[in-house]
Symmetry: C2
Subunit: 105 residues, 2 copies
């Protein structure tokens, strides 16, 4: 619910997996944020592997560079929808997605 909290959490240097109830976040909120951060990190990684700039990815998905930057930053203004769609644009499969979400897979 509280956007400011999320902003704070996502700022500067939270290792993926460490976002937890240290502010008054419900487990679902934590899980949701963690999920977004995981996917965001993977997006950046994949984009770079494919030697694409944010501008190029933005064009591929008919969006803008600034949006891509926000997606990768895990900005609270970005939905899971857009995050997942951008991954799909990079050719990520459902199986790939599953592995991102639960590496133990």
């Amino acid at each position: 619910m509280d956007k400011e909290k999320r902003q704070k959490l996502e700022e500067n240097g939270w290792a993926v997996g460490s976002v937890d109830e240290f502010l008054e976040l419900t487990p679902e909120e934590s899980a949701y944020i963690e999920l977004k951060l995981t996917l965001a990190t993977n997006l950046r990684q994949r984009r770079r592997e494919q030697h694409l700039t944010q501008v190029e990815l933005a064009n591929l998905m008919h969006s803008s560079q600034s949006r891509v930057a926000k997606i990768e930053a895990g900005d609270p203004s970005v939905s899971l929808d857009l995050l997942v769609r951008s991954l799909l644009t990079l050719g990520v499969t459902q199986s790939d997605l599953a592995h991102m979400i639960s590496p133990a897979v």
Copy 2:
């Protein structure tokens, strides 16, 4: 892009996994819709397993019965965001999610 197409696709009896490019859907669009349908189906299943009504789930996630009905129906007006959040409300873990997305896991 085309909402009507998606409506059609989601109507009556598409086995999960069978939504494909048989209308002019791009691979990403197909994948996105398939993903939503998979999660929607799982949501209904889990809700029932926990002996919850749509009204009860709606209260848990601070939404309304009609929204829950739409989520489970894979209504195009429902975002992945809301879908995933509703699953998290039911206590679904990242690992659970991964298994839903890619059963082979």
